[in-house]
Symmetry: C2
Subunit: 147 residues, 2 copies
DNA sequence: GATTGTTAGTTACATTAGAGACTAATATCA
DNA sequence: TGATATTAGTCTCTAATGTAACTAACAATC
């Protein structure tokens, strides 16, 4: 059986969700290896840590909204980060359902290290792209992400 | 604690692996819903089916290489697709370790339907982008994917 | 032609993710 | 005040994934 391009001019190698998935997986690999090996973190844990680092103390719920993550995923990441002593949580006085999350000293240290590693890694990913391409790429991705 | 942008000018909302992951998840959602509900397929199953449709009969190993998927994932997808009667497999005479995969009539039918749905969906994703942006986006993603 | 190595594909086990039920705290409003 | 509804976060059960060990077929070398 030969390829069936005659049905439509559709081509898998230009299908956006496919490309995005492959690019996401390929580009995550190296950095993921770093935070896994160095801090035994999962992807969601690093995202949660990073949100606290970059946007300041907040509740699990706020992280869900900002990061676009399901609350069970965030809940589990918080437990793991707390066990690693990277964050602590405090019930908020005026509404004891909310827990304010904040970084510990070692959480801040890890955040700094990971931020720097991420910045270097990001630069290496786009090293072959022109500045214009980089701008277009990031802005298209932001639109697609709904950020 | 306030944001700590002074440490570096790194910003999560421009970090490529993060953007790629969010864009990939967001853009997969709608199409995924279609093939899940209509054909009870998982993502890997649709990818395997589509590789056979677009590139012709091949072995599981070839699909692994072309699609960048692990052999266990492909193996499980093949079992599932076979149970749904979308593909069949035949041991190759000259080397009975290889199994040549091919589409059944209903596999072809599903492929056509999914291809058309994918094409429409892809068009809707990039509807807000200029033709130039679309070209840059896809070519950057292909490079990042190693395609 | 027995041993050793390699390759295609599967299986088994452990890890991670997802969906929905659940608990505790607060809010609403009759 | 008491009944009902919401909300933040956790727990439980199941589905999906990743890793590594495994089987079967073939290849190569002594």
């Amino acid at each position: 059986m030969k390829p069936h391009l005659e049905t439509t001019d559709f081509d898998l190698s230009t299908f956006l969700p496919y490309l995005l998935n492959r690019a996401a997986e390929a580009s995550s690999l190296e950095f993921q290896q770093y935070y896994r090996e160095t801090y035994s973190m999962l992807r969601t844990e690093w995202r949660v840590l990073f949100h606290l680092w970059q946007y300041g103390n907040m509740t699990a719920k706020e992280i869900c909204v900002r990061a676009g993550l399901h609350k069970t995923k965030v809940s589990r990441a918080i437990v793991a980060l707390e066990q690693k002593r990277f964050i602590k949580r405090d019930k908020m006085a005026h509404d004891r359902r909310n827990e304010l999350l904040s970084l510990t000293a070692s959480g801040r240290k890890a955040s700094i290290d990971l931020t720097q590693a991420a910045a270097r890694f990001d630069a290496s990913l786009v090293a072959d792209f022109t500045p214009e391409e980089q701008v277009v790429l990031r802005s298209c991705l932001q639109k697609l992400s709904g950020i």
